[in-house]
């Protein structure tokens, strides 16, 4: 088992009349366990062209009904650039240049969920995206020539 932590700090000196600072740290555990850490991850960096919505992280049987956590960051620098992040064609929101997200992800293969893959579409320019998936299993593909 591995120990992986995710920490967020939200802060502003001038949004409110006094300083605002909020910090939270969580351990990334497997679902249904008291304290067994997730021990698998994927980390990617890729270029997303404009014009098409792509599956950034595809749903798969090995990812269902468990704890998965996703981190995505938009590495572009032009402030007008953004990507839309969606699940099942339902837009969660936009990541502008420099923005990141961290969220749990429920990979659901049921017919009702339709398609729980995490989708991304780039606007304005092609985008450099980095993302991580912390998970408890991956559906491996048998090699065609074995």
């Amino acid at each position: 088992m591995a120990t992986t932590t995710a920490t967020i700090t939200l802060s502003s000196a001038d949004l409110l009349s006094d300083n605002m600072s909020l910090s939270a740290t969580m351990n990334l555990y497997k679902g249904g366990t008291t304290d067994t850490g997730l021990d698998q991850m994927n980390y990617h960096r890729l270029v997303i062209p404009t014009g098409t919505s792509f599956d950034l992280i595809e749903e798969s049987a090995a990812l269902t009904e468990d704890a998965n956590y996703v981190y995505i960051i938009n590495k572009n620098t032009d402030v007008t650039d953004f990507v839309k992040i969606s699940i099942n064609a339902e837009e969660i929101g936009r990541l502008y240049a420099g923005d990141w997200l961290f969220m749990p992800w429920d990979c659901d293969l049921s017919a009702a969920a339709n398609d729980s893959s995490i989708e991304i579409q780039a606007f304005t320019h092609e985008h450099i995206i980095e993302y991580a998936l912390f998970h408890n299993g991956e559906t491996l593909v048998t090699s065609a020539d074995s």
């Binding site: 502003s12 949004l15 351990n27 981190y71 402030v79 339902e90 961290f102 969220m103």
Partner: protein, 141 residues
Amino acid sequence: MATTTATITLTTADMADSAFSVSNTATLTTAGTDTGITETTGLGRKKFATTDNVVLLDGGLTSGIAADVTADKSAKVYIKNHNLRGDGTKFVNILLAAVEIGRLYGGDWMFIPWCAASGKDIEFTASDATETTLEYTCFYE
């Protein structure tokens, strides 16, 4: 203009052969500009004891704490499940409208952009009726 930052640090010393750490800071700006976001719902903390579907942030309504969030801009939402983890079987499902995003177990947090269009509510459904405490805030323009 205000300067509000969100910093994430992901670290593990033992998942891979070498330690892994990623840290990034986003400055929260209005859509397509470098002007800082100047509005927030404030930090909310609420307790719920139901397995019913509950709307946490109402998108596109003319009243409520999210009424002024402009749709399809650069709103960001933070949510934390303040419950203890326990045996790891209790969680809240976070949904956008009817689409499930993922599960927040006790102690888990999330930080996401939010399109906030009409009907695109951020909702949750608890896995059981044990009292659940959520902390949340939204930054928006």
